[in-house]
Assembly symmetry: D2
Homo-oligomer: 228 residues x 4
């Protein structure tokens, strides 16, 4: 097993319950956390849980809509914790619609948050990782990337695009000691059981999976769905 | 063979040589042409060739960056020619780069022109086609959709997204008599031969293919690459 | 357009209505036909239609279960017609079942006829085509290759395998002037309309498509589904 | 974590080092092992290692070329250990070649061992698992299933076919409480480092991954590559 203690991770989509679960699990292994998202109150809630177990965490409440912002976050994480080892790109929300009646505003929100933001964050982190010849980028997307489901709209397109982005990053950077992981889980919900008493896929299942991949030896990487 | 005479087609990416070739071939079959693109002079050049063979054509020189603009174009085509039968989405240009040094401006230009513009145009045309229970949407993208090639950057992502968009349109609208075609050709160039004397893939080869698909019986549809 | 006149084609799956339609269409363009299949009477029926329009045709009624047999067929076609230009691999029949109750005999029949037979036929034709630095291999499989449908059983597996076989042939032989086409049509039936009066996909639609691809310039190749 | 203690697993491809590693890891968790393969001496060696740590194991040295044989193995595992919980299908060996010169004997050996044998084993196990509404089938194939590599020949085709087989099993049996896992690792070798001192992918890495998936909660399943 590969120890994570003392490493530094930036997480996007930080306002989601999933990001909270992944950040908490990583902090439990001694990872310094930089949590980025839109909603300051939710970021603070996750940060407080991490502090309660003695973890180190900073938060960044903002849209990641310019390279200046994502580069600033990389800089802040590095000055706060002395490095950057892991970037975790978490899809912040689902929204979609049928194409013939799709709201353009929804298209723009979904594409910006789920595809352009991961690009800008990777764009800022990669030069650092290439220079240090070490680093790890994980995207936690959705099984909407694995097929085509009516009404998924912009979200389906963003998730297929995210897959392509991660494959490009892998192809262009594996020679620089940078590994990637692409997770495409089904829909995760907090409740451990559904109305019929069947077990759900929860954020904890996904963070368990992410943690397992991140603790594998450096030369191994994994992609794939986890589905319920 | 399915006659195209008297039908009306809107083409995006109209400033490209490929769009000019497809429009000319369709006009030769009696299709009324609405050619949309960024560069008025290139649109006029293609329109003049069509007029010389007695074809009917209108041009729209503008970016297709709002639903209002694409709905206006659908309206203009319908009032000029009395209907809308065919929408052809042509990727206007390639640009990319390595992800770690990708220009953000390039990302935005490529994603807007090659993915958001086709979405907005389809978004405007589909309600009309669904109401008339008839219509045809063809996208002519690129073999960048068929793999992951380093340095393709935003273009690769836009082309994979275009594939997903077309699959969503197919899945959501086939019950409404709307058929789709997705063409993913290699790079087409004007010169019939390359420096070594080998034959190239030319815009005429692609327009020949598009025309063949559009003249198949209404209940057939085709996807696929054509490669050199 | 690329003239087919005087070329020689071997077709497998020759007892099917589809093979009959493709052979007839090719013969109409002046192609010499070698039709291979299991049922002598059906082969003769197709051959007689070809002879009525003045076409040249030989038939081979046998299972193609050894390399000796497929090499003999290549030899016979070459001595009868003076060459070998085109090999068309047509899936002879569908059979399947749920995996948990799949008949082993069905598995063996399906895998042999739809996957091992095309391999043996390509295995025999490729050395000739590589030596003459020219040739064309087309497989007409099924849309069972494009997804995973319960109860398709061995047929689904054979069709996915056929896709891989054709991709290997393409990758290994394109430098030798050999081009491939992979067609994955939906189910074709003779009746032009179904019980509800809707048009069907017929063997003639598929042979029309095959003929179109085979008459493209030599440096172009096409894959893809045609679906109803 | 899901305890494996007291469960019973059948493994095919049992003569390989990978099967030995997976069987040893499972036995360490208290799983009863039925190890099937061609080479009795290698099976015995793996069985002895398991017995040394107090594990329970039986071996079956035979080709799995009839349903009678695979049903007999299911019967023996159930009578020896009182049940059947897990089936692990391990690809026994690589062999291939260019299609134009591929040995037919190699084709038959590869297709039988890597595709027909997994089918026959799953065919025998599924009726039991469907009746008990519980069970788990894992296939450990190869990254040859994830692309098309010249010279992979029959192995590439068998691995793509194995993927389809596993997807059919998943689609047809998930309602019966049966989950599947498909692992497509790169080439594993025993030596922890290669000639240049870089770490290899070893059988232990793969068995670690298999064990992790098998110990997830019953309602989760995972597919995917692990690559070096």
């Amino acid at each position: 097993m590969n120890s994570l203690s003392g490493k530094t991770a930036i997480l996007t989509g930080g306002s989601t319950e999933l990001a909270g679960a992944v950040a908490f699990a990583l902090a439990g292994e001694g990872v310094n956390i930089c949590l980025c998202g839109r909603q300051a109150d939710l970021l603070d809630m996750s940060a407080n849980k991490i502090k309660e177990i003695g973890g180190r965490v900073i938060t960044q409440a903002s849209e990641l809509d310019t390279l200046e912002k994502t580069e600033a976050i990389v800089g802040q994480a590095r000055s706060a914790f002395g490095g950057l080892d892991i970037l975790i790109l978490i899809s912040p929300f689902w929204s979609g619609g049928m194409i013939h009646s799709h709201h353009v505003k929804t298209w723009d929100l979904v594409m910006n948050a789920n595809l352009r933001e991961p690009f800008l964050m990777a764009r800022a982190a990669l030069p650092v990782m290439r220079e240090q010849k070490r680093g790890e980028i994980m995207a936690i997307g959705s099984d909407s990337a694995l097929g085509v489901y009516p009404q998924d709209g912009a979200f389906a397109i963003a998730m297929h695009g995210l897959t392509t982005l991660m494959e490009l990053i892998q192809a262009e950077n594996s020679e620089f000691g940078i590994r990637t992981h692409l997770l495409s889980p089904g829909v995760a919900v907090s409740a451990p059981f559904n109305a019929e008493g069947k077990p759900n896929l929860t954020p904890d299942h996904i963070s368990d999976w992410a943690l397992w991949l991140l603790t594998r030896p450096d030369h191994l990487r994994g992609n794939g769905p986890i589905l319920i």
